[in-house]
């Protein structure tokens, strides 16, 4: 009997078809080698700094802080990365790893399109073939990103099965990977799926907290009191939390998409409304019915519209190290508009969920307290949808 691998407490594991087992074992072996390889790390750092524009700024949001009248708010500006979101951190790492493994083709799922755009970008840079699977509903919600991916040379496959959103795009990627393993790397976009993906993606996203920890120590001479980030699968959140996990006095707060509210069926707040289950390669919390059928979740944000959460988040929740709070569509849209007007920064609607919670949290804290708030992406892609939400048709 072999030991189950890649556990975070009771969560994680490798619940995938036998056909994929040697592929994930090969990936694990390659990653274990390259993560400590100096040349690999130098190449990756060079790409992050000179191609993606890292380190990203830690910006003191002075007007927002004064307006809310409580804790000092610093924004970790992942929206300033090349391609406009944190996704590029993980994608450059995985694409480089895939290249080293001799793979010539990248496939990926995407919800809002940010991970698809980042993957298509890396594929262009590394001269690799690229196919992106995107729920058909999301291709309509995020038409601009579909165009960007095609412009970058990727093929975009609209997924019509199930709810035609992010979870179905993940399922279709798994079906595609099982059909073509030899030359193809599945560039998974979040801290989810079978081991070793949750660990690989977390390690590549941990650059966010590695930088923000140094930056806040330099700016304030101390650690923040709270770190706030939005959670779908949870990659920007785990990246934002990771280097603070041993610092027990730093509150770690993940903001889930509550959609129309956690007391309705139109929600995607997994930790708040889901239960323990096994899906998409991992044991974790999932929105599901009493017979284990995965629930059709809903959020205004295509990037948070996922019925599960990464296994490390499930574990951080179990042990009480991180908190997970629900944020509704309405609150996120208000925060989207608020940050745009207050700081001249248009956040992604995903990130706006974190902004919304920070707006509630900051006034309850005294002025000598500090919040680090991750702006995981920029909101240009969302303008048409938010305009529609407000009843304005801008004919995009």
């Amino acid at each position: 009997m072999a030991d189950p691998k890649g556990r975070f407490g009771i969560h994680g594991g490798q619940y995938i078809p036998e056909t994929l087992m040697n592929a994930v074992n090969e990936l694990e072996k390659a990653y274990d080698f390259y993560k400590n390889d100096e040349e690999f790390n130098n190449e990756l750092t060079d790409l992050l700094n000179n191609y993606a524009g890292r380190p990203s700024l830690l910006y003191y949001a002075e007007r927002m802080t004064k307006d809310l009248g409580g804790a000092k708010i610093y924004l970790k500006r992942e929206d300033l990365n090349h391609t406009g979101a944190h996704k590029v951190n993980n994608v450059l790492g995985q694409a480089l790893l895939a290249k080293k493994m001799g793979k010539t083709r990248l496939i990926a799922e995407t919800g809002a399109g940010q991970h698809g755009v980042a993957t298509a970008t890396a594929a262009a840079l590394f001269n690799m073939e690229c196919v992106i699977f995107m729920g058909e509903k999301d291709t309509q919600r995020q038409a601009l990103n579909v165009y960007r991916m095609k412009l970058l040379g990727a093929e975009v496959v609209p997924v019509k099965s199930g709810t035609a959103t992010l979870k179905d795009a993940v399922s279709e990627c798994m079906r595609e990977w099982v059909s073509r393993i030899d030359d193809t790397h599945y560039c998974l976009g979040s801290v989810m799926g079978p081991h070793p993906f949750p660990t690989i993606v977390r390690d590549f996203q941990a650059v966010i907290s590695r930088e923000s920890r140094e930056q806040i120590l330099k700016a304030e001479g101390r650690l923040p009191d709270a770190v706030v980030a939005c959670v779908g699968g949870g990659s920007n959140a785990i990246g934002s939390f990771y280097h603070y996990i041993p610092d027990k006095d730093v509150r770690l707060i993940g903001c889930e998409a509550a959609g129309r509210g956690i007391d309705t069926f139109e929600t995607a707040a997994t930790v708040n409304t889901g239960k323990l289950g096994i899906f998409h390669g991992m044991k974790s919390y999932f929105c599901q019915d009493e017979y284990g059928q995965i629930a059709p979740v809903y959020s205004i944000s295509a990037g948070l519209d996922y019925p599960g959460v990464g296994p490390e988040h499930a574990h951080l929740y179990d042990i009480g190290r991180a908190e997970y709070v629900p944020v509704t569509d309405d609150e996120a849209v208000e925060a989207f508009e608020y940050l745009s007007r207050m700081e001249g920064i248009i956040p992604a609607i995903e990130s706006a969920h974190a902004v919304a919670y920070a707006m509630k949290l900051a006034p309850t804290m005294s002025k000598d307290r500090i919040i680090v708030l991750t702006i995981s992406g920029r909101g240009d892609k969302d303008c048409a949808a938010i305009a529609r939400y407000r009843g304005v048709d801008i004919n995009e």
Binding site: M1, E18, T19, M21, G277
Partner: protein, 257 residues
């Protein structure tokens, strides 16, 4: 010896797969009986899952039809009780890990024993995660069927050594569904299996014609057919039993040649 292994004693086995509740359980009952009467040696009963990641479009669509028709795990257990009044061949559930896990693995396996289910196939539970389910299944005399894929390579021996019931050899890369050609060298895989266990092995994925079934059974102990049967049910709905019956008859005739 388990009932499943005994089913292989009369020569090459033919194993059809049927999605429970597609389009309704009454039809499934007729189809299962038609398959049994026409020579099926074991029947795989699919408990539909909302997001069947190992299935191609045909079984995905059947799962959706069944769930939309209101079928649930409990209704399927009740249905098996009815079936067992006159169907005696081994019955094996095929479903996904979450269906069993959310029901409660202990409660699920106990119920399997009570209603007369002989085995279970979970395509998203590989060797490394098997113990969580198998340790419970064993206690209730339910065989957990292991899968071996064209990519299994050095894993075949390890999997074969712990196999029970029968071994499900996945013929090709990819998801379930009809294929015009199967290129994997099945006899090489079978050779390694034979060196490690005497548990019988049957080949599935992509088999739709008597010729393919005969070829796959000639190098193993049997053939498994899913999508081709589910497609017939999709086409003929409530009247599918006769069509499935004659299809099973032609396939069984082909495998025992």
């Amino acid at each position: 010896m388990s009932k499943i292994r005994e089913a292989f004693k009369n020569g090459k086995a033919f194993i059809p797969f049927i999605t429970c509740g597609d389009p309704d359980l009454e039809t499934t009952g007729k189809v299962v009986r038609a398959a049994a009467e026409n020579g099926a040696d074991i029947i795989e009963l699919g408990i539909p899952f909302s997001d069947p990641t190992a299935e191609g479009p045909v079984i995905q669509a059947a799962s959706l039809r069944a769930l939309q028709g209101g079928v649930t795990t409990d209704k399927i257990f009740d249905f098996v009780v009815e079936l067992r009044k006159d169907v005696s061949i081994p019955l094996v559930f095929m479903t996904y890990a979450n269906v069993v896990f959310s029901y409660g693995t202990e409660r699920f396996m106990k119920k399997c024993k009570e209603v007369g289910i002989d085995g279970i196939i979970l395509p998203d539970v590989p060797f490394e995660e098997k113990e969580e389910f198998d340790s419970v299944a064993r206690n209730y005399g339910v065989d957990m069927i292991s899968l071996i894929a064209p990519t299994s390579a050095d894993r075949i021996a390890m999997i074969a050594k712990e196999a029970s019931g029968f071994i499900y050899i996945v013929s090709s890369l990819g998801v379930t569904g009809v294929r015009s050609e199967i290129t994997t060298d099945i006899s090489e895989i079978v050779k390694v299996i034979r060196a490690n266990t005497d548990v019988p092995c049957a080949v599935g994925f992509g088999i739709s014609t008597p010729e393919q079934a005969a070829k796959m059974a000639s190098v193993s102990d049997g053939a498994i057919v899913g999508s081709a049967i589910v497609k017939l049910i999709g086409e003929h709905g409530k009247n599918a039993a006769d069509y499935v019956g004659s299809f099973v008859n032609s396939m069984k005739t082909a495998v025992i040649k």
